[in-house]
C-alpha cells in the first residue's frame, strides 16, 4: 500500500484502518442503502476482456441502461427503489450529466 495514495474518503479510511489493524471495521455501504445490489458486475471499470475498449461508447450513454435495472452495485444511487427521481433532471445522460445529483444518507438513515 505504500505506493498507493487514497483518492477519496473511503480509501483514506481504509488506509487509516489498516494502520490501526481495523480493516474489518470498514464495510462498504454500511451507512445506508445507497446503491443497487442486483449484481456485482464491475460496471464502468473494466469490460469482459479486462480492458476498457469494449465498454459502452460513450460511457455516459450507458448510464440509464445500467442504473435503471440496478446493474451497478454502488456507483450510482438505487433508482429502482430508493431514489427514483435521481435522473429526472438529466433525460439525456451524455448532454445532461452535470445535472445529476449526489445522494447522501439522511440523518434518519444513519
Amino acid at each position: 500500500m505504500k505506493h498507493m495514495k487514497p483518492l477519496n474518503q473511503k480509501a483514506d479510511l481504509l488506509l487509516k484502518a489498516q494502520e490501526a489493524g481495523q480493516v474489518d471495521d470498514v464495510v462498504a455501504m454500511q451507512a445506508g442503502v445507497a446503491g443497487c445490489t442486483a449484481t456485482f458486475d464491475p460496471g464502468w471499470e473494466v469490460d469482459p476482456f479486462g480492458g476498457v475498449a469494449a465498454l459502452c461508447q460513450p460511457m455516459e450513454a450507458d448510464l440509464y441502461g445500467c442504473s435503471d435495472p440496478c446493474w451497478w452495485p454502488a456507483q450510482v444511487p438505487d433508482t429502482m427503489t430508493s431514489h427514483n427521481q435521481w435522473g429526472d433532471k438529466a433525460p439525456n445522460a451524455t448532454k445532461d450529466w452535470r445535472s445529476l445529483g449526489t445522494i447522501f444518507p439522511d440523518n434518519e438513515d444513519l
Binding site: G65, P69, M80, T81, P91
Partner: protein
Amino acid sequence: MSINYWMSRLGLGLLLLLGVQQSVLAKDFIVTMSKPNNLYLIDADTKAIVKECKLEGIMNPGILVMSPDNKIVYILSGYWENVYGVEVDTCNIVFSAIQSGDGVRAKTIGSLAVSKDGKELYTIQNRTKLHRDHFEVLEPQLTVYDTAAGLKAKPLRTFPAPRRITVMATGENGKVYASGHELFEVDPQTGKFSVKIANASWDRPTYSRPDVLAFWPIGSQNNEFMLLYTAMEFKDTSKKEVSKAVWGYETVNLKTGETAIDDFAPLEVIMFSGVRSPQHPDKLFGVYTQLSKHDLATDKLIKRVELPHTYYCINVSTDGKFIYVGGTADDIGIYDAESLERVGEIRLPSGGDMGVSTLHVFSRPS
C-alpha cells in the same frame, strides 16, 4: 368459355388485387420510448414521427411488448412495477396493472408478454414483503392478467415461478417462453414450468455455463424467441484450461415450438441483442458498439462495422432489407442489411435517452 370460368378468373383477379393493395398499403412502423416519458410511433419508411405520446410518469424502464394487432403497446413502467397498455394511435391508456400493494413490492425484470390472441398478459413478479423492520423475500410468481380488464386490472391467475426470469415471449401453441437460468416453457393455464432449452443444466461437459443477457423482447419479425449467449469452451472436462470463448444463439420457433441452440462465432466483441429476418434466417445480426452480420450456416463473420455510439437493441424491417438499431441514446440508426452501410437515422424529438427501452418494428396498413 363457361360463365364459371369467367367467374373464377374474376374472383382470382379480385383476390390478387386485394393482395396487392394490402401489400402496397402495409408499411413498417417503429415503436419505442425515450426519457422523460415519451412514446413514439414512427413511420420507418419516411422516418416521420406519426404519433408522440407524453405519458406523465410512465417510462422507467420502458420495456415494451405489442398486442398481436400492433395497436396497443404494453409498457413496463413505475420503476419495474407497473404495466400500462397504451393505444399507439391515440395515446389512450386502456390497461394498467399496479403490481405492488398490501405491503408487498413486486418488481418485474423485463418479464412481460402478451398471448398470441391478445387476450392475456403475463408477467413475472419478484416480490418482497415490506415489514416494519425488515424485508422478507417472497417466492416469485407468474401472474396472468385479462387484457380487457381495463385500468387497475387484478390478476386472473398466479403461479409460483423460478427466480431470475427476465424476458418472455408467447407461442402460437398458447405457451409462454421465459428466459432464466434455463429457457423455460410455461403453461399459463396450469403454471407448469418445464425446461425447453437447457442452459445452466446443459449437457456440454467441456463448457462453462452460458451467460445470457436477455433483456430485449424482440424477435417478433421472425416469430421467434431468440437469445444470444456467451460461454467458455475448455480443452477437456477438467475445465482447467480455456480453449476459446464463443458466441451462440438459442431460439424457440414461436409458430412450431421447435428449438435450436448452437455456437456461431468466437467472442471478439460484445453484442447485447440479436435478430434474424424471415427472409434470411441463416443470417444473424448483433449489435452493441459494432453491428455484426454472421452466417449461421458457415459460422463465418460476414461483416462488422463500427457504430457512432453503442446501441443496445436491434430489429429488422419486414422485408429484411434494413436493420434498425436503437435503445441507449436518443437516435435510431438505419443500416442496409446487405452492406451494413448506415443509410439513415431518426432523432427522437424529446432528446431523452431510450435506455433499455425496446425497439419494436412491425408492418401494418398505414
